[in-house]
């Protein structure tokens, strides 16, 4: 069998060698991998900082750091996780690698712009590192940079928010590239209703990336302008309204959480049919719910502001709208579970992470309703209940979807398979650790423990102690998962083109794929989740 060289052997542009074949690449697959290593780096730093925060909270009073350092620690954890990890993780890694392949084409619409997005990402990360060491120290404002504190604090805020600004540009350009690719570079016979659900989720996400990110851009610029020129646009002493900062901030940052979760849901929508050997239930419902979440997500930002001092009318309106957003998400959960019903299910590591996702995200989403209800919100706002809620949705949701995607697409990206047993152990450890880490936070939050606070009252000791144990398990589980995946490079068990029996286009090309993805024009099935061929010829594991 004549083997076409893989994309590892064929640099694009041609003729590049060594590190330059990566740093100057136009190939979306290489860029996806470059993002993978960068984001994994930041993810490990981010969970380490989180782990240090957890150790500090293990005992009352000082454990390992001062209160001042603690404030910078949770700011750093938030900035890294939000801007450098969760927002780009699935689109930049798996979107870049697989969106063109799922569409039956050879690359994104603007390959060089794609490279620029990566450099902007690296530059933003670099600026964030530099801002750790400048005079004044890393910001202590929380990743939300609320005024007036962010304007007044002696810590170095401008450099960090400028880093976030640069990262926003990277995100916007990726969104622009994906939208244009989906519109203009699809395989000629692939209609809109034949696009795989992962790509659909990236398309919906790209619109949010494109339209919402500029709001944070101008907001962060205004913080810098205010620090430099003290105009007073948010300063009540000069006529400004600090609540307007919050409005502008959350106008981006709420849609941002949909940027975080939508691609994750797209991953789940791919994995479930593959390991059910059955078409996804409600393909169109999932498409429209993705678009619905993206649209409705832009209507609810002020549910972060119920106790800020805004009007009761706004509280009422935004609370009501927040309940509406839950509906399209619920539609997806119903569709996934319905797909599993009476299916011939094959358990694999990606499916395990997927099932855990469904559980954790559902809990996260339901607790979001508690927060979205204006009355209860007064009780739980700025407590650890909020912290637990968003870790259930972001880590339990997007995080576990990321782990699922890693395990699903690892053989395709690298042509090798990892050890299943260690993968299952890591997943179990992470899940158990996750629950013991975050469920206590719901409880101490309901009991009244404030977030972002260095010390706490004695009645919260037990919960925090339990959370620390959970944290250690969670941390170990994630590290074991990463180590297991990296060990696959040592053993190098080869993977076939379609080890799982998936029916989207990436499983029709070799593992790893050749440079231009397809050697001939791919055959587009009438329905993207048509498993009839797979059922006739199931893959041999």
């Amino acid at each position: 069998m004549a083997t076409i060289p893989s994309f590892y052997e064929t640099p694009s542009p041609a003729g590049q060698t060594g590190i330059r074949a990566w740093l100057l690449t136009h190939d979306h697959k290489r860029l996806g991998l470059m993002y993978l290593w960068a984001i994994l780096f930041w993810f490990v730093i981010g969970i380490t900082v989180g782990f240090l925060i957890r150790i500090e909270l293990m005992t009352m009073g000082r454990t390992i750091m001062s209160a001042q350092v603690y404030n910078s620690a949770f700011t750093l954890h938030g900035v890294i996780m939000v801007f450098l990890v969760v927002i780009p993780v699935i689109p930049a890694i798996f979107g870049n690698f697989f969106l063109p392949i799922q569409l039956g084409t050879d690359d994104v619409f603007f390959p060089r712009l794609n490279l620029l997005s990566w450099y902007l990402y690296m530059f933003g990360g670099g600026l964030a590192v530099v801002s750790l060491f400048t005079a004044g120290g890393f910001p202590d404002t929380g990743w939300t940079f609320y005024v007036p504190f962010s304007i007044g604090t002696k810590h170095n805020v401008p450099l960090t928010v400028f880093a976030a600004f640069i990262l926003g540009m990277s995100s916007m350009l990726t969104g622009l590239n994906f939208i244009t690719t989906v519109h203009r570079k699809r395989s000629p016979t692939m209609g809109w209703m034949q696009i795989p659900l992962f790509t659909w989720s990236l398309y919906a996400t790209a619109w949010v990336q494109l339209l919402a990110t500029p709001v944070i851009s101008i907001t962060l610029l205004l913080v810098i302008v205010e620090r430099l020129f003290s105009i007073g646009l948010f300063d009540p002493d000069k006529g400004g309204d600090p609540i307007l900062y919050q409005h502008l901030f959350w106008m981006y940052s709420h849609p941002a959480v949909y940027v975080m979760i939508l691609p994750g849901m797209g991953v789940i929508s791919e994995i479930i049919p593959t390991f059910s050997r059955k078409a996804i239930f409600g393909y169109k419902a999932i498409v429209f719910s993705s678009l619905g979440i993206a649209s409705a997500g832009s209507l609810v930002w002020a549910h972060h502001m119920f106790v800020s001092g805004m009007s009761d009318t706004a509280v009422f309106v935004f609370s009501l709208l927040t309940f509406l957003v839950a509906i399209p998400s619920a539609i997806k959960v119903f569709s996934w579970v319905s797909t599993l019903y009476k299916a011939s299910i094959e358990m694999t590591p990606p499916l395990l992470y997927t099932l855990v996702f469904i559980y954790l995200f559902s809990v996260g989403g339901l607790t979001g309703l508690v927060l979205g209800a204006a009355g209860p919100n007064i009780h739980v706002h700025d407590t650890h209940f909020v912290v637990a809620h968003f870790h259930f949705t972001i880590l339990g949701g997007t995080g576990f979807a990321f782990f699922a995607a890693l395990h699903y697409w690892w053989p395709k990206m690298f042509g090798i398979m990892y050890d299943f047993r260690r993968a299952y152990i890591a997943a179990t450890l992470a899940t158990v650790g996750f629950l013991f880490h975050y469920v206590p936070m719901f409880i101490v939050g309901l009991m009244g423990m404030p977030r972002r606070s260095y010390d706490y009252l004695p009645q919260f000791s037990r919960g925090n102690g339990l959370a620390a144990v959970g944290g250690m398990l969670l941390f170990s589980g994630i590290i074991l998962m990463v180590v297991n995946l990296l060990l696959s490079f040592r053993k190098k068990t080869p993977a076939t083109a379609n080890p799982w029996g998936g029916c989207t286009l990436e499983w029709t090309v070799p593992s790893p794929p050749p440079l231009h993805n397809f050697s001939k024009e791919p055959l587009i099935k009438e329905y993207p989740y048509d498993f009839s061929d797979i059922l006739k010829n199931p893959p041999k594991n």
Partner: protein
Amino acid sequence: MTNQPDQTGVRISMWLFLYTEIILFGGLFVLYAVYFYDFSADFVQGGKELDRVIGTLNTVLLLVSSFTVAASITAIRRQTKRLCLLLLASSFLCGLIFLINKYFEWGHKFAHDIYPNSPALTSGPHGRNIFFGLYYVITGLHGLHVIIGMTLLGVSFVLVYQNKITAQRFALLENSGLYWHLVDLIWIFVFPLFYLIL
């Protein structure tokens, strides 16, 4: 896997980029809308302190420059290269005069103690401070975009001159034009909001 450049795709992507610019300024318009509601009287007074004549002149300059840049596309497509270059140069010149006017406007204001965080502003009515604060931020950011737009026009001029932009391949010129029109669009709103709210 076609090698023909997809001009429609390139144009779509330019519109996508323009949307980000619209929303970027949109954030500032949110602030303006709210503060105008809060400080209507002070805003009206502030508007009276701005020079309507210069403002009108700047508006006319940008409108004419939008016309000339749109016409430059027709010119290159009709293969009248010299006319295209002349029109592009006119747009660039209009932008330059716009910026010079702005420089004098701001300078005049600075000389009268109206600048960000000036004692005259911070000790006066809150609405007046906010009005001029927004004035500087919005016209400043807009001015920055004028400079970027002029750079794009300059680059287009060179590429037309070097025959790298032709009657068949004019996407770069078209997209530079779109960016320039955006600069004009923003000013069309900025002008009445600051100079004509009286």
